[in-house]
Amino acid sequence: MFAPAPFLLKDVSVSQVMIQVCVALIPGIAAYASLVGPAILVQLVITTVAALVTEALMLKLRGKPLSLFLTDGSVIVTAWLIALTFPPLAPWWLVVTGTVFAVIVAKHLYGGLGQNPFNPAMVAFAVCIVAFPALMSQWPSVGLQLGLIDQMNIILGWAPRVDTLTGATPLDAMKTALKLGDSSFDISTLLANQDIYGNFAGRGWEWVAAGYLLGGLWLWHRKLITWHVPLAFVASLSLISGALWLYNPSQFASPLFHMLSGGAMLGAFFIATDPVSGCTTPRGKLIFGAGAGLLAYIIRVFGGYPDGVAFAILLMNLCAPVIDLLTQPPVFGMKDKA
């Protein structure tokens, strides 16, 4: 009988970690569903099924035990993040393409669980927004009230995609309006449009962001993530947006607007904190989070895409290994010498 010490082990497992991440997403999902209707739940089902089937196929091809790896839950987290970052009325084949690409290329071709240098959900988002920019920019129009059947028909392609059904995100709408250079569009008049904007950011979207924030804080409370990445992300996003907002409040939105718009909260708490593709040292995590926050702002405000969180995180994924290498903390007893 060969069993090395320790003989006592804490009751933890990869699937427990992943399940808790999914649980933490529920407040955000609930707010999302109440905003756009059941479409988001349909997307969650589509991505989950697509992810599980692809994962099973890849595990089989790679000769890995299905029972062990299919149940680890990691692919479900990927699937859910894809569903939550893609437009809720995106056609089924788009989200399936994204999911399949994420699982096959971003995850398994790099070696599977624990080996992917990039966050698979963000890879899916980046690939699809580059390949299908129009579809990836069509978000449900504000106040659009469609039932489950209608939404399913749109997603499944059985009903025509009518332009009036969809529009840009509040973040995108603001950028487009400001880019026109027409001085009549300043932030305060834009925000006065209470059809699109609510108290802090996009009407309704601000509560989705708050839901992610809540779930993220729970993850931190459960010690599944540390405070470093989310805090650094939020701090750097606030700092840069705050500085420009103070410089010209009519052309730059407030830090609070940025915090509660787009994928900021989801990215700060659920994606940038992905340990596999992110940094692991405390100082490294601070740099990673701050870099992601800064890049997200730059891309979303000055870049050509509706939001910058996905690209920001992918760019920081790229830097993570070297950041980790350069930020190794001193070991016990060597703090004076380091």
Binding site: A3, A5, G114, P275, G333, K335
Partner: protein, 577 residues
Amino acid sequence: MLMDLFKFKGGVKPPSNKLQSNHLPIAQAPMPSRLVMPLHQSIGGTPRPIVAAGDHVLKGQMIGEADGWISAAVHAPTSGTVVEVAMHVRPHPSGLDSLCVVIEPDGKDEWIARTPIDHNAAAPADVFHHLQQCGIVGLGGAGFPAHGKLTPTKGVPMDELIINGAECEPFITCDDLLMRERADEVVRGIAVFRDLLQPKKVLIGIEDNKPEAIAAMRAAVDALNEPFSVVAVPTLYPAGGAKQLIRVLTGKEVPGSMRSTADMGVQVFNVGTAYSAWRAIAHGEPLISRILTVTGNVHAPRNYEVLIGTPMGELLALAQPHPDTDGILMGGPMMGFLIPNPQVPVVKTTNCLIAHDDRLFPPKAPEMPCIRCGACARACPHELQPFEMYWFSRAKNFGKTQEYNIFDCIECGCCSYVCPSRIPLVQYFRFAKSEIWAREREKNASDQAKARFEFKQLREEREKADKAEKLAKAAAAQAAKKAAEAAAAAAESGADAAVATAAPEMDAKRAAIEAAMARAKAQREAVQPKNTEHLAPDQQKAADEIEARRVAAHLIEDRVSSEKATAAPTAQLDPKS
């Protein structure tokens, strides 16, 4: 006693499982049918057997004598007959055999004459010798000979003497019971250490889950009017690791690379060591028994005073193991190991036996890939990055593991405990360390072979030179003889005598010069750098000190240091407590 405590990073809180075994007083284990005394029971050298099969020995009679400064004698635990001196399996994760003295008790339990020592009157060297002769070693787990830790490092004032009663490993309660029942003698032993080390203060650290032990120790300290502080430290595994306890009590962080904590003015002893040192000083009793917890999947867990050398199976039987017991764990569940068979004897460092079964210790779930969650790094009390060391150990990139300070790892098991992927991280680190040691040994062996070869060359050169010198002398003698003959002849002729005498003198001179050149060449060869030169000053100092100690102990026999090298990392932790 109020004092500021410090924190060490990391640590885990496994279920303590101590209540099962700590409610009954210490019981005396019955005399076993046969005692197996491994000679190698401590860090350092292997004592030499001084008895042979057929000898009658008395209780406490020395059967193995220390073979060096870092070595401690072993003794017969009871009176009886030596059955054999042979190789038997000893309790070590390797499961390898080592030389053991097997004794059949005669049932009389007859003591040899015991000689106490007055440690106040005796010279420190005599006290050290006494402790060594009594076989006193660290009972916390590593088993470092106690006398080797009782000298302060030169030039470093001894600030704190720390007594480790933390006993942080789950299940183990032997130190708890020892402190509850024999606090007086523990404190007297601490006083001896204090007298020898002369520290500025003495701190006794006990985890706060042992209120009875804390109370008993405080009462004993007060009764003996000693200025020792009994400090309740927070229960957090591995608070009983020597360096963690030092950190908690003093705020000092002793680097992993520092072999001796005395270099930072602090020294740590286990409470059990203090107790047995006192028995040796005041009663002349060598270390032949110890307190041991028998617990786990048993009907009647409790602590026993047992003779060293008792087969573990016999002790486990006392606690009535449940029928589904499938193994015996020596030590705690965090750092212990399963013994290969129940005949394995108790040694000086055996603090706990745990009956193993699948209910208490469920079989491990299959290993999953690392997801870099960093839980291990947050749990590591030495603030290492276990997941990085894991990648490199797995890839056999041992140089990288050393860059990530793998030798600072004390193998406490916190990382494995928290890993959600169920990776046996400590196992990977042991693998990497032993590979690195094996490579170093190979390198040393090849260095030695190279040195031997160079010496052979040197010797051959010298012999050649000697030969040349001899030849030159012979030639000179020959020439002188010839010259003498020629002179005689010249004297006869009377002509050109001066020329004839000058020539042989020249020959003799030339031969002498050649011989001198040969000698000089040999000397040049002799000053080729050797591997003991170019030592850093501290290495040279360490070497000199070792040499001095060897001379002092009249032990000039050279020892292979590989044993010490393998023992080094464990020496840094008193893992039991």
